[in-house]
């Protein structure tokens, strides 16, 4: 397939909106949508989180997403690829990231969305710091 998927990428300082994301990727040509929503947990290693603080290297994040998008297009030919990531302070219960894929078949959508999240965690230049009541700590990635 040579059709280009639609790509929606945003780094946002305001709350992420699942409905907006889903309507970006929805089309009557597409049967399957997989949406990943990553929220902030109130406990990290048993300690109460006050908030997370995210920062990003946005221009590079955009280039990394282009690289990832090219791989996803080759492997799964989806109709749409979306990644919205929050930066700044994000409280427990709030959404930190939404990744979404629309495709013809559900296997494509599940695999592509899972891969997009794996690659986000592996290479996209975004960092988070956990802020506790008694201190703060930059998060080192878990594989």
């Amino acid at each position: 397939m040579s059709k280009q998927p639609s790509v929606f990428f945003a780094i946002c300082v305001v709350p992420l909106d699942i409905v907006a994301c889903e309507s970006f990727i929805r089309s009557t040509a597409t049967g399957a949508e997989v949406i990943f929503v990553g929220t902030v947990r109130e406990l990290s290693h048993g300690k109460k989180v006050v908030h997370l603080e995210f920062e990003s290297y946005e221009q590079m994040a955009q280039k990394e997403l282009q690289r990832i998008t090219a791989i996803i297009k080759d492997r799964w030919s989806p109709d749409s690829i979306l990644l919205h990531h929050r930066i700044g302070k994000v409280k427990p219960g709030e959404i930190a990231v939404i990744a979404a894929i629309a495709a013809h078949h559900r296997e494509q959508a599940f695999e592509a969305c899972s891969f997009l999240m794996d690659e986000l965690k592996r290479t996209i230049p975004i960092w988070k710091k956990e802020v506790f009541e008694d201190g703060e700590e930059w998060v080192t990635p878990h594989p």
């Binding site: 920062e55 280039k63 990531h85 990231v97 965690k121 290479t123 230049p125 975004i126 988070k128 990635p141």
Partner: protein
Amino acid sequence: MTVRLLIFGIAHEIAGKRSTTFEVPDNATVSELRSLLSLTYPQLGPLSFAIAVNQQYVEDSVILTENDEVAIIPPVSGG
């Protein structure tokens, strides 16, 4: 020659700044840049970080050019 240095995550806290200009020898490699960074910011030494040049991850053998945008990329932790 001068490159523009961007410093992210835990590294910007160690360096005490998010961006600066940085002097390197003409035709310096990323590997040489790493050594100079460790001299200027000794606390970066124990940190494992990647280097991006002009918004792309690069190997240590890459040669820098005047005015490159060079970024210190600690292990990412998005999502």
